[in-house]
Subunit: 370 residues, 2 copies
Amino acid sequence: MKQSKARKSITLLDVARAAGVSRTTVSNAFNRPDQLSPEVQQKVLAVAKELGYAGPNPMARMLRTGQTGAIGLIFSEALPYAFNDPVSIAFLQGVSKVCERVKASLLIVPALDSDVAQQTIQQAAVDGFILYCIPDESEAVVRVLDRQLPVVAVDQPELKGIPFIGIDDRQAARTAALHLLSLNRRHLGIIAMDFHNDSYAGPVDPQRLKSAIFRNALHRWWGYADAIRDAGIDPTLVPIEESPNSNGVDGAFAAAIALLQRHPRPTGILAMSDILALGALRAAEHLGLKVPEDVAIVGFDGIPLAAQVRPALTTIQQPLVEKGAIAAEILLGIPNKKTTHILETKLVVRQSSSKGSREQGAGSRVGSGE
Amino acid sequence: MKQSKARKSITLLDVARAAGVSRTTVSNAFNRPDQLSPEVQQKVLAVAKELGYAGPNPMARMLRTGQTGAIGLIFSEALPYAFNDPVSIAFLQGVSKVCERVKASLLIVPALDSDVAQQTIQQAAVDGFILYCIPDESEAVVRVLDRQLPVVAVDQPELKGIPFIGIDDRQAARTAALHLLSLNRRHLGIIAMDFHNDSYAGPVDPQRLKSAIFRNALHRWWGYADAIRDAGIDPTLVPIEESPNSNGVDGAFAAAIALLQRHPRPTGILAMSDILALGALRAAEHLGLKVPEDVAIVGFDGIPLAAQVRPALTTIQQPLVEKGAIAAEILLGIPNKKTTHILETKLVVRQSSSKGSREQGAGSRVGSGE
DNA sequence: CTGTTAGCGCGTTCAA
DNA sequence: TTGAACGCGCTAACAG
């Protein structure tokens, strides 16, 4: 009998009774110290501690106030893969930096398939969501929109009325391809990241391109194609090998091998991410090809590792961390932020595509820290 | 007037009325489909959708059920640094893998200083906490314990009654030092990670060691000292340079430079983490020293990058991902798990400490994927 | 299979 | 400054 009472958790009311005050007073002692005399507050807090009461129950408070103090983050990939990708990690860094500043927590919500998405997104106690690189018709998007909470999208999807942060993938990719073409590399090969959600690895046909659901990959391909076409080459004849993000560098290695064993062998490789480019670098080495002499390689993203490998990697630098920071700031209502941000990118030329000797081609970032 | 009613969010009751059923029925339609006829369920769901009702309010449900479907994770470092450290990231991968499997969300709780910790930990709506590498007397520990929820500690703190996952740091470090000594490297230098919370970088004196609050670092030092003493050398004469985790490879570079410029120059460097060892590798290169001929280097942790750099890094491999997975499994009540796990480590010898030529010394992991 | 009845623990009026 | 009352939206018993 007594046990059952002792068993249940302590509430504001218990503390109030033990301290000989009202519930409101105890609540105020925790939340509004200015609303009661310091001495009373001291006493209440002391009694609370004695009873093992650690402050208002967060669920009850959330229900009452409608605020949770957390924001939700949804990745398109399986979480372990997302945490394996330097691009996602950099994004996470940006988000977390802002969260830490404003004392908000960050809820990572698994939403891999529609089943999981439905359950986890509906249950998430958050004040808003960040959608990171989510295909437009994904179940996750529907569920998030249903929640009627503030939303910010990064990279994808672009939806009416919700803030968006991204880059001009097409233009950036065009710059990358132009660079290679300007070095007179006319036999190009493309290593692509996921166009679809099916973890497919291998050559890409026009049909697959046309039905692509990941915008980044599609737009980057468009950009490559723009430059290639302008150079008087038929872009549909440029071979594309797709290697899913989740296959990491190893997958890219295989894709690059496939590309480099074609005849004529490509003299330039356009990789849609730096991870893919690293695989290409390794493949070239494996085949005994010199980079950039035999084959030049250009990546995309500008992850820190790109500057540190040898030969250092030419890439399109995009503000990865800043993307996360801006997304969080918008969601958390930090003022002076427009709601749509197309961030700048820039081509960083390093050894993997330099004209001269390896040493000479080093970009300014080489040797800088982690 | 009407506005104010339209303004507020839709509840179970609204749906019930609109559908002409009771609240329970609507609740069941969402949570227990087996408790009502399919047709009624269809109808209720249809009405709900029409009203823009997206399922039960998560806060209310949490209050009612006492379950949140999320677990909290607390790092000792500032989040952006944690997300920059391959060791933490690998841990996160392990945690997230399990979370995804059981459809749990993961709440990353900033708890940098005591102020923030108090607020964020008290407010966190979670079913339990994972403490990752938190100093024993940290405010965060107190707050977490106060919450009276299940807790698991990883690496630190070791507290009575709460499950613990870690490795035998001392023994592992001893193995690393023994390895170097067995190669006849008798002039050693140590690069240490944080002993204290103060971001200090520089030489370490006995006082600082004695008052260390980070167990990992301290135990690793003990292990080194054990082996060194057994080799007939006075461990207190072995120079130690501390470089905080947050300073990354650059900090380690500086620390290693300091070490390598001493007389006599160390012929072996013991680094307490692979990141630190990478800095040492770079420092050796910078000074024109050959690794392992002039100076042999041994890291700790076994991060993937250690196998990929050249020369590849000898290290103590610990099951980083598994640590996270086990922690999450224990917290989420997945059965067949003991509550305390001291995981195995092993020395992986690679080029950075090999006797023979560089090629010969490559560990089996070299060239394997990301 | 459906409806009724009770709280879950708290924050906020408002009056004292 | 304090105390009483109300309801946030929901789920779990239990009765029909």
